[in-house]
Symmetry: C2
Subunit: 254 residues, 2 copies
């Protein structure tokens, strides 16, 4: 029997190294094996004697099982994720793999290390659009019916949440973001602020502030995070640069 391994599920935050927590850096430095989607592993400096197991996008379950097999065999594994591993990312895939997999996997020493989520980084870049009650919704219908996405978008808009949209578009389903905007335009004011944040924390980062009336959903790709305001979300114009976007901490009660 081999010595007990361990699995650390680690979030790097979106793009910028200055957003990687000391805990994440330490867990990565201490690992014998790094497992992850290739572009995330490429962000990390090589370390002598440390094994790297790169995989392609979309192969979450196989990546999760590979990490579990390594940890089950005694390795000290860091499974690396962008953003926060708990938000539309690898942590849930690992627990799915555990539940479906070998009973011994349940007792592997596993912890999750949080990272800055993309929506919080997008919010920080523009002000404080997530400053009050908000929802995060993935527009991917790979693993849920589109009717459920519509139900959640409608509920979030009707109850006047700020809405963060993850996975807005892909080559396989380019129309979903258009459908989502059409639905939201039927339920929210045309003046509602909308933020498009692309490639957060990277050299090619772009942030656009629009309104629901003017925003072009075709601008979104899989590297884009979208924030759609509540009825309270406001834009503060400035003479010196991009406007601030924020949602007050409460609603006006007359």
């Amino acid at each position: 029997m081999s010595a007990p391994g361990r699995l650390r599920i680690v979030g790097l935050g979106p793009g910028a190294d200055a957003w990687i927590t000391p805990e994440a850096s330490q867990l990565i430095a201490n690992a014998t094996d790094l497992v992850g989607y290739a572009p995330y592993l490429e962000r990390l400096p090589p370390k002598q004697g440390q094994m790297r197991h790169e995989s392609g996008n979309g192969a979450e379950m196989e990546r999760a099982r590979h990490a579990l097999r390594l940890a089950g065999g005694g390795r000290h594994v860091a499974l690396v994720s962008g953003g926060d591993p708990g938000v539309f990312a690898m942590a849930a895939a690992v627990f799915e793999a555990i539940e479906e997999g070998e009973p011994a996997w349940r007792d592997i020493d596993i912890t999750v290390s949080p990272g800055i989520p993309a929506m919080q980084a997008a919010a920080a870049r523009t002000g404080a659009p997530l400053g009050h009650d908000f929802c995060a919704i993935s527009l991917s219908d790979n693993r849920k019916p589109w009717a459920l996405v519509e139900k959640r978008l409608s509920a979030a808009a009707t109850a006047d949440f700020v809405i963060a949209l993850y996975n807005p578009a892909s080559a396989a389903r380019p129309r979903r973001i258009h459908d989502a905007f059409a639905l939201l335009r039927g339920l929210k004011a045309p003046s509602t602020p909308v933020v498009f944040a692309r490639a957060l924390g990277r050299g090619d980062e772009h942030i656009f502030v629009e309104t629901l009336a003017t925003a072009d959903p075709a601008r979104a790709d899989m590297s884009t995070l979208i924030i759609v305001g509540s009825s309270e979300t406001r834009i503060i114009p400035r003479t010196s640069g991009a406007p601030f976007v924020y949602t007050p901490r409460g609603v006006k009660v007359d």
Copy 2:
């Protein structure tokens, strides 16, 4: 006219120093003045020549204006917040103060530096309960009518979001969390997993995993973050320690 000042709104994450990003540490080190709620400033090591402006809890607007006045007068200010400053915290208060305040404040050099939000840290401690679509709702009715809180809780439950509850209780309104649980119990299954996370990242951290049927809302205080699962959220029991709680990346489609 004084040299231009600047304001950096900085999140420390919840409790643990290992969750403070390098960006946050750098911005704090570079500031001439630190402004914040006393317990957050106490987390930071003293630095010679750096001024500290501590304030009590609940004085957000006055704290925001104080930071803006200092920055407007040429100081390099770090306004320090726990968790993420953009999530039920100081960033929105600053932009409210800007909108109501002196026109010159709009053109102060202001940026926000994101931190690990308490809900993501709570999720990481238990597995991945926020692994799919979720909402964050503040139960404080200081600045919004309770009817709006109820509307948002109902919408979030009916559309089957995972729900993170911030500000669950205070001495001034100890019954609100009981009202919220009564509402959720009418809309969600008794077996729905519920996580109570208290004093995250601190020495006295406590995490409890319950179900909606058994959870006692009286356990929550102002240092507690609560996560209420969706119909898909699952508990994985383990022989060696606390169970994992997670929400799969999709829903089963038959």
